[in-house]
Subunit: 405 residues, 2 copies
Amino acid sequence: MGSDLKGNAVIGQSGGPTHVINQSLVGCVEVLKESANVEKILGAHHAVRGIIEEDFIELQDLPQDRLDRIAETPSAALGSSRDKPDDAYCEKIFKVFEKHNVRFFFYAGGNDSSDTCRIVNEKAKSAGYELHAFHIPKTIDNDLVCNDHTPGFGSAARFVAQAFMGDNLDNRALPGIKINVVMGRHAGWLTAASILGRSGEDDGPHLVYVPEVAFDSVKFCQDVDKVYSKHGRCLIAVSEGIHDADGNPMAAKLAEQQGHHVEKDAHGNVQLSGSGALGDFLAQEIKNYLGKKTRVRADTFGYLQRCMVGTASPVDQLEAREAGREAARQALAGDFDGSIAIQRVSDNPYRVEYKRIELSDVAAKTRTLPLDFINTENNNILDSFKDYLGPIVGDLPPVEFLRAQ
Amino acid sequence: MGSDLKGNAVIGQSGGPTHVINQSLVGCVEVLKESANVEKILGAHHAVRGIIEEDFIELQDLPQDRLDRIAETPSAALGSSRDKPDDAYCEKIFKVFEKHNVRFFFYAGGNDSSDTCRIVNEKAKSAGYELHAFHIPKTIDNDLVCNDHTPGFGSAARFVAQAFMGDNLDNRALPGIKINVVMGRHAGWLTAASILGRSGEDDGPHLVYVPEVAFDSVKFCQDVDKVYSKHGRCLIAVSEGIHDADGNPMAAKLAEQQGHHVEKDAHGNVQLSGSGALGDFLAQEIKNYLGKKTRVRADTFGYLQRCMVGTASPVDQLEAREAGREAARQALAGDFDGSIAIQRVSDNPYRVEYKRIELSDVAAKTRTLPLDFINTENNNILDSFKDYLGPIVGDLPPVEFLRAQ
């Protein structure tokens, strides 16, 4: 296979940064650099916004050692954006591509980003302009369809697993009730990762609440009471996206109750992260239920989950790099467009493959946590989830503690 | 030197757990195991409470490989307690020691723990009972006098430094105003650690607020406005212990305003950690000042700072181990009581020594961040602090990013 298409390439990084989105950037650049058909490699500064403003960072001459250091660095080196391009915006993108003879377009992001690729490529097609547009998957939420998992998730899951291992030991040393709020708007994948380091019968988290099932704060207090009576302590993982039976996010209801302005992004999503309000509210509910002298604490893991330096999953790093490389290979080989999906071939030994799928297969769809992983009481994650998650996160540091005999 | 004193040993771990308090436990046990004068090594389950309840875990027969795994594990393997023993409590402790022929007592903790050692040893002395009681320093707050730094601080500081490095990159990718609340009731050491990974002129944190100086929320908003106008973004480190000019902690004032019960521990300290209220309040103040559409987020690092698995400082681990060993050596050599202080001998190469100091030198005193490290505007930490902090935290992972040309 091969293609005669020649011209410049544009690469962008969209949405919330992750620990490994720079691996995908570098993987893509590495392959493009080797091709005689690619002249300039233009990094879009702050994603689609950088494209329409023709604000590019040239990447074709970066030496390999600098690329390697960029790849190891969390967050989006090119800058990101939360803009959601509509039809007119995509038209502008296409016009810039025409002007700069851009023939290869790579966009790393979630399902909205694949839709941007698709629309821009349709504009190109109807204008008779040959463009090869590829989406590179990226989201700590792990919610892209057709993927076994997505680059960024493994590292965020590693953070959550290590944080819960440590907090479980902390909660053993000074027993009490502890709530940890984990990122995840519609999907509970990352919250479920809290159980990965659980080994003993009395290890926490003892309760896990994900947005796949409705949340009821009375039932929640009863659950906590039961665990606390049994173990004298209770460690709880709560997704920021938990909502009532009508689908209203608890976090948004709270902000409104407190008379705060409820922020919405370009996608119409209300702000969930960057506030401790949900955790504090749940802590107060427990105190009201169990008595105000009960020791209840709440932490909200926040943005550290996606970008804290030094906490990446090695597997996630490798896979993100390879996803970027594969997108570049496919685009150069002659495919017009597509998204690179990571699919698991075998569990033991763990092996994945990178497949081209249609952009429309990924766009605007959300893959939630299968209900099979949730217990019948809807307040915990089953250990079978570890078989899925373990290889993506990699080995966790061992821990050892003492017990009274 | 040497001592004929023979009998059993008791070890306890007090107060908030740290990443390396088990290193000190294991260091102490290792040395005691080798002594013919020590029969049983009794771990006090949940600190002083375990002593008065005679709830002990025998440690003398633990194999070295298990000890090594325990040492590497964060949090207090014996369990901890927030009890602050008064005179009557210390009398009970002494009675248990008499009953069990305990002749060596080691207590790892903050300045209150050294006071417990002191009082128990005075009881012993007045009863004519020979007891060797040693305090092993431990606190992420780094606030013990006579110490260059304390075991636990280096690892917590490493967490804070890595978190800010990542969050600075995150904030570059998606610019906005971001507040991170860091632990530290009276001392700003840990909050100051936020600057360690700062290298470029526009790297965050751009503003740092510590409890050594009074906090004014109007001045705070003006500071943020200035940075935001200049850089289009602003990353802020705030100590949980910030207080107004009269010394009232902001966090406690807030809880009262919201009609919440303000929790106090046995030491009379109000609850600061385990809530996102302070960060959320400051975010709201900025929105009120700059307009509600400004993107402002707040994260509170919480308990992860002290115990997250996999984030220890290697130097901190070694030093905590050695502090435990040294306490055991001194107690066996014949010293009646004391505290082990880590003192810096040289910066380059970095070298420390472990010295015995008097228990009364450490007890009930707080060492705050010297004002020399704070800028004249009281809203930042000077780079000279890095020379002090760097060797304690160890090398940080390198980061690399791109800039528009």
